[in-house]
């Protein structure tokens, strides 16, 4: 069964430890991973570009809806946000790929811990000794 060079390349980059005998479904599922993100971005671009030059379509133009904030301040804040986002998303992607690199481990001797061990909305990463600090429980 042939897999495209794209699928193979992505699989190799993200899961170097994985077997090349992986089935067809998992490769396609992998490539479709960012699809939700792409769909949301596509939707936003359509909305924001499509309604130009109006803010309220047919009623108020974008040029009329400006706040009285000085251009240098807006420019500086935009630059600041770009820098901060590069730092935050860059670090996030870096840590994310480091987590991807390890396949999931089957836990043995997993004790049932009673009581809440999760912060709301946080899903645990797999137990990995070199990405967490020693002596700190991560609820696993």
């Amino acid at each position: 069964m042939k897999r495209s060079w794209l699928c193979r390349g992505i699989q190799k980059a993200l899961m170097p430890a994985s077997s090349s005998r992986a089935g067809p479904v998992s490769n396609k599922a992998l490539v479709m991973g960012p699809s939700g993100f792409v769909a949301v971005l596509a939707g936003w671009f359509t909305t924001e570009v499509g309604r130009q030059p109006f803010t309220v379509y047919g009623l108020m133009r974008t040029s009329e809806s400006l706040s009285p904030v000085a251009a240098p301040a807006v420019g500086a804040s935009l630059v600041a946000f770009v820098i901060v986002y590069f730092i935050v998303f860059g670090a996030g992607v870096f840590y994310l790929f480091r987590l991807f690199r390890r396949p999931p481990v089957m836990e043995v001797d997993h004790e049932l811990d009673l009581g809440p061990t999760r912060a709301a909305g946080i899903t645990p990463g797999p137990a990995q000794e070199d990405t967490i600090r020693e002596g700190v429980n991560h609820g696993d």
Binding site: S67, S77, A91, T117, A119, I122, G125, R133
Partner: protein, 334 residues
């Protein structure tokens, strides 16, 4: 039945802002206190103490700010451009504080940087909130429902003092929260910090309270002019009661009392601001009535808010109930 919708909504927004200040107050306070705890394990416990609740606490800011846009759009349109720089800095601070929560667990050598980010983000967020408050008390120059002032109007000695006051106040909230949630050496040290920050907070509240009547004649008349002085005199008296409760609770090793006393200081300061401001939303420029959106919008929004805000309060209370009690130093909240 005739309800004055703008006043009802002003009360709801005021409640949301107060809820944000006291709830995120101790979250930011824990971050502000980071440099005082050298041991990494101590800092882990500190973040674990707020990890289950900090997300929900920050969302009250969204309710306050978003609600302001929906209900008092003129205030949103005039005050936020006036406070553009402090607000942007606050947002950047909150971003770093938020991600540092998670990223500090993902690395061993780099975690000190994220701890610095956590501290810096918390301190910047607290300081800029105080500056925004001070700038608002001073008054925003509004001509014809648009902001008409300069770009650095918010930067004055008074707003810098209020910035320091809010930062120190949040540190007090953080220290009393740690006194409530931790045990052993960590708790003893947070109690000592609470004594110092408590004294500093009360001193700064005094400085700001005595300064602000001289900022604007309206405030002077509210606080010193008869007959309103009779009612406003309750605020300093109750502040003294809270200050005593704080000192007493800390010296007699009470756990909940210092935190409640610190909360009381914040609530009373907020009430004091309300006394100074009412019926203005933007002092000297916009009253609540003038700034409100049309009644139909307010009614529409009130229907939603009257269902959702009790739900929010219920699940928030439940979350605090689930995570009640002292932190077990061995157990993770992550």
């Amino acid at each position: 039945m005739e309800i004055d919708l703008p006043t009802v909504w002003a009360a709801i927004i005021a409640f949301a802002v107060l809820a944000y200040v006291v709830l995120d107050g101790f979250d930011l306070g824990v971050g502000i206190l980071f440099p005082f705890f050298r041991d990494r394990h101590d800092r882990d416990i500190m973040t674990n103490s707020i990890a289950p609740v900090w997300d929900g606490n920050e969302t009250w800011l969204v309710l306050g700010g978003g609600g302001l846009m929906a209900v008092f759009p003129v205030v949103y349109a005039t005050v936020l451009p006036a406070l553009y720089m402090p607000v942007i800095l606050m947002l950047l601070g909150l971003i770093f504080r938020g991600v540092a929560f998670e990223f500090r667990w993902r690395t061993t050598r780099g975690s000190i940087w994220w701890d610095i980010g956590f501290w810096l983000g918390s301190t910047v967020a607290a300081f800029t909130q105080g500056i925004a408050l001070g700038a608002l008390v001073q008054g925003i120059e509004i001509v014809d429902r648009a902001y008409a002032g300069g770009w650095w109007d918010w930067l004055t000695p008074f707003s810098l003092i209020t910035g320091v006051a809010v930062t120190v106040g949040y540190a007090l909230l953080g220290a009393t929260w740690l006194n409530l949630k931790t045990s052993g050496d960590l708790q003893a040290r947070s109690r000592r910090i609470a004594m110092w920050t408590g004294g500093a907070t009360i001193a700064l509240i005094g400085v700001v309270s005595l300064w602000s009547p001289f900022i604007d004649q309206i405030y002077f008349e509210r606080w010193f002019g008869w007959p309103t002085a009779f009612f406003s005199a309750f605020v300093p008296m109750l502040l003294a009661v809270c200050a005593f409760a704080l000192w007493h609770g800390l010296t007699t090793d009470k756990h909940l009392q210092p935190f409640l006393a610190a909360l009381g200081l914040f609530v009373l300061s907020f009430v004091g601001i309300g006394i100074s401001f009412y019926p203005y939303m933007v002092p000297g420029a916009l009253t609540i009535e003038e700034a409100a959106a049309p009644d139909s919008s307010l009614k529409f929004l009130l229907v939603g808010a009257s269902v959702l805000v009790p739900v929010i309060l219920a699940y928030t209370g439940y979350a605090y109930w689930v995570f009640r009690g002292k932190i077990d130093p061995e157990e993770g909240y992550h």
